[in-house]
């Protein structure tokens, strides 16, 4: 996705197309949320309202689903999303120090987005790569065997 397209919002007409693709089926809500987020970068209040209206389900329910799953964002996010595993194996093998290094290097706390809109830093559940714990993902790429020392080198590729 081009950085410029992210977070620019999404027009109701485009949401209409996505709803139509799923024949406005209420049980396709999660797939619809994925498609809209892919298009817009995040799920704005306007987008969630459009989806609720198009599916004829309460907007509180759509918001409930959108906030339940960690992979959905209801606030604008950075160009690159860093997701650090918060589960036990990573924790035991030093995730805490890795997180501190990330926070220091980016100058933001967990959950934050850098002021230049480049990076968002957040937790994720197990990435399924416990063999190389501690681990994180940047966008679609997985990084394992992390140490605080490696963090600046990895981030350099994205800056």
């Amino acid at each position: 996705m081009e950085p410029a397209a992210r977070n620019a919002g999404i027009c109701p007409a485009k949401i209409g197309e996505i709803l139509q693709k799923y024949s406005r089926r209420k049980d396709a809500l999660v797939a619809i949320l994925h498609d809209v987020q892919k298009e817009a970068g995040y799920l704005s209040e306007e987008a969630l309202t459009e989806i609720a209206s198009g599916l004829d389900v309460p907007v509180s329910r759509v918001y409930g689903v959108a906030t339940f799953y960690t992979l959905f964002a209801t606030k604008p996010k950075g160009e690159h999303i860093i997701r650090v595993c918060q589960d036990a194996p990573c924790h035991v093998l030093g995730a805490k120090a890795v997180i501190e290094a990330l926070e220091k290097e980016l100058g933001i706390p967990m959950g934050g987005t850098t002021s230049d809109g480049k990076f968002t830093l957040e937790y994720t559940s197990c990435l399924g790569v416990c063999g190389v714990a501690p681990a994180m993902m940047i966008n679609e790429a997985v990084y394992g065997n992390l140490t605080p020392e490696r963090i600046p080198l990895i981030l350099k590729e994205y800056k």
């Binding site: 109701p12 704005s44 309460p58």
Partner: protein
């Protein structure tokens, strides 16, 4: 059928019965918290867990269906330990200031803590510091008290079809909230207060206005008048420890006088007046080809729901104000003039079974007397608090009569408080006004009872008048959707926002459940049977007010004081819109 053994005793139940219901049949009381007999099963609190022979895990009795031959234990050390642990975890992030809570001594969590002898919480006590919601004049939300049982979610969505409250976030971050964390004032909430009845704790309550009433009562310059809604005369007793369904009209009047109200008059009087105005409006619509079906307008929760969800159907709603607001407009005009009191010195209080009435009284258009027509709305629960604080015991009081000139009423007005009651009252009058002959049978049994939607056809002169009655907004929605499709072939529809009608209103004593709603409703029909006058048009005080003040039904004074208009409202809260270029499409 399934034969099961519970704590060593055998019972035969239908296959698929829950363990909870099977145990009930044996008189075994399994504790519950997120379970509510009228609502969808949630099975999230795990207070009702039981041990089943052959099953490794404990199972929730409220959701687990029995099978033939099942052997169940409800009171083993393992079960008790699990329940206590779950309670301890709930209590570790629930406020511990029960003494200051409005639900003190009427709280399901507190009762469980007492039942399980919780003397110690081993976990760190930590509150989440979630913001309270004081955005409406009717309902207050305190999410820090919420135990995430989801009963309010079920009633709001499944019963009331509003879908205002829903869990957002997940795990320890979960919060039950209106969408986007907004206040109730920003979303399509009817303010019916059914979530208050669903809530086992004090996380959702009415806005307490008792202090404003105490101050007015203590002000020597204020002439404080109270009106008593139909449904309150069969429910206030419960606030004072009496069983549901006790008719306490006369004692209620005496109690209000003891509290210091200068005049105790009756919403039932304006309920009779509503029937005259609304009945004539219906006859006019029938005669002149007006918009049909006409829908009743007494229930402010229904009106607000209609404004949000069916703005295209507002012309179907009768223009008659609710009895509360008719009374409010008249107390500061007709009564003020008759009593020789400056209306600015009148403080008008209404006793209502309803939280939405607080919102209705605050509507900007409800000032037709030139003043705020109803100054304060007290729910049944708030009056209960005032009576207890003043040490007034209903049981000790004599029966007293309402004050004139707005204190005389008929049985037709009394049944306003039960689903079908407004319809029945209207039919009694419309029939006799339209035909000029006496009704052969005064009781319209077809529109009584707790079926969600009731229909009847009544021959009035040469017209078969087709009517329908719905209570609970989910039932109303069914009729409204039919109307949108052009398939609702009715002349007249009664809609009451709350299940059971006003007897089940969001301001009524806690607990209010379907069983209690039914008992209170039956008491209103009993009150109706016991009254000498049972048709609104036979009320002599009504004849008098038309002769002295109003002129004629639907006349100029009525139009000004007794009728109103409705406002289309949004279904969704206002949101920031993306900038879209037209060319892109």
């Amino acid at each position: 059928m399934a034969m099961v053994t519970i704590d060593g005793r055998r019972v035969e139940v239908d296959a698929g019965t829950t363990i909870l219901d099977a145990a009930k049949k044996l008189g075994v009381d399994i504790p519950t918290l997120c379970y509510h007999p009228d609502l969808a099963v949630q099975a999230v609190c795990r207070i009702c867990v039981v041990e089943i022979e052959g099953q490794k895990l404990l199972q929730p009795a409220c959701a687990f269906p029995v099978q033939d031959g099942m052997v169940i234990y409800t009171n083993t050390p393992r079960v008790r330990q699990a329940r206590k642990m779950n309670l301890e975890l709930l209590l570790s992030h629930h406020p511990q200031d029960c003494l200051q809570c409005v639900r003190n001594r009427n709280c399901e969590l507190q009762a469980l803590a007492e039942r399980f002898g919780m003397r110690e919480i081993r976990f760190e006590h930590k509150l989440r510091g979630l913001p309270e919601d004081h955005s409406t004049p009717a309902i207050v939300r305190e999410p820090d008290k919420c135990i995430l049982c989801r009963r309010c979610v079920s009633v709001c969505q499944d019963v009331q079809a509003a879908g205002v409250l829903f869990p957002s976030q997940r795990g320890a971050e979960t919060v039950v909230t209106p969408v986007f964390g907004r206040g109730l004032d920003e979303v399509a909430c009817a303010l019916c207060g059914q979530c208050i009845h669903a809530c086992p704790v004090g996380a959702i309550t009415e806005r307490d206005d008792t202090e404003r009433v105490w101050q007015a009562l203590a002000d020597p310059n204020k002439h404080v008048v109270v009106q008593t809604a139909p449904a309150t005369r069969v429910s206030i007793g419960e606030e004072m420890g009496l069983p549901p369904g006790r008719i306490i009209t006369g004692k209620l009047v005496a109690a209000l006088r003891r509290l210091g109200f200068d005049k105790v008059m009756d919403t039932d009087f304006t309920a009779d007046l509503t029937i005259i105005e609304e009945g004539n409006e219906l006859l006019k619509r029938l005669k002149e080809g007006g918009v049909l079906p006409m829908i009743t307008s007494c229930s402010p929760g229904w009106v607000k729901f209609g404004e949000h969800f069916y703005p295209d159907l507002l012309k179907h709603i009768s223009t008659c104000k609710s009895p509360q607001q008719m009374f409010g407009a008249l107390v500061k005009t007709y009564y003020a003039r008759k009593a020789g009191i400056d209306p600015k010195d009148i403080f008008s209080v209404s006793l209502m079974p309803c939280t939405a009435k607080k919102y209705e009284a605050d509507r900007p258009e409800m000032c037709d007397s030139g003043y705020k027509d109803v100054d304060v709305v007290l729910t049944s629960r708030e009056l209960g608090r005032m009576l207890r604080e003043a040490g007034i015991n209903l049981g000790d009081l004599p029966e007293e009569e309402h004050d004139d000139p707005m204190g005389i009423s008929t049985g037709a007005a009394a049944i306003f408080g039960a689903t079908g009651g407004v319809m029945e009252a209207a039919l009694r009058t419309v029939y006799e006004v339209a035909t000029g002959s006496e009704l052969p049978k005064i009781d319209f049994e077809q529109v009584r009872g707790l079926d969600g939607i009731k229909e009847a056809t009544v021959r009035v002169g040469d017209l078969d008048v087709r009517v329908a009655v719905a209570h609970g907004l989910g039932n109303a929605k069914k009729i409204l959707d039919l109307m949108r499709e052009g398939k609702a072939n009715y002349h007249f529809v009664e809609v009451m926002c709350c299940p059971g009608g006003c007897v089940g209103g969001g301001g009524q004593p806690i607990p209010t459940n379907m069983e209690i709603r039914g008992i209170r409703g039956s008491a209103l029909y009993e009150a109706d049977r016991g009254l000498p006058l049972r048709k609104s048009h036979e009320n002599p005080a009504i004849t008098q007010i038309y002769a002295e003040f109003l002129g004629e039904p639907l006349g100029e004074v009525s139009h000004h004081l007794l009728h109103t208009h409705y406002t289309p409202r949004e279904k969704y809260p206002a949101v920031k819109k993306a900038v879209c270029s037209e060319a892109a499409g």
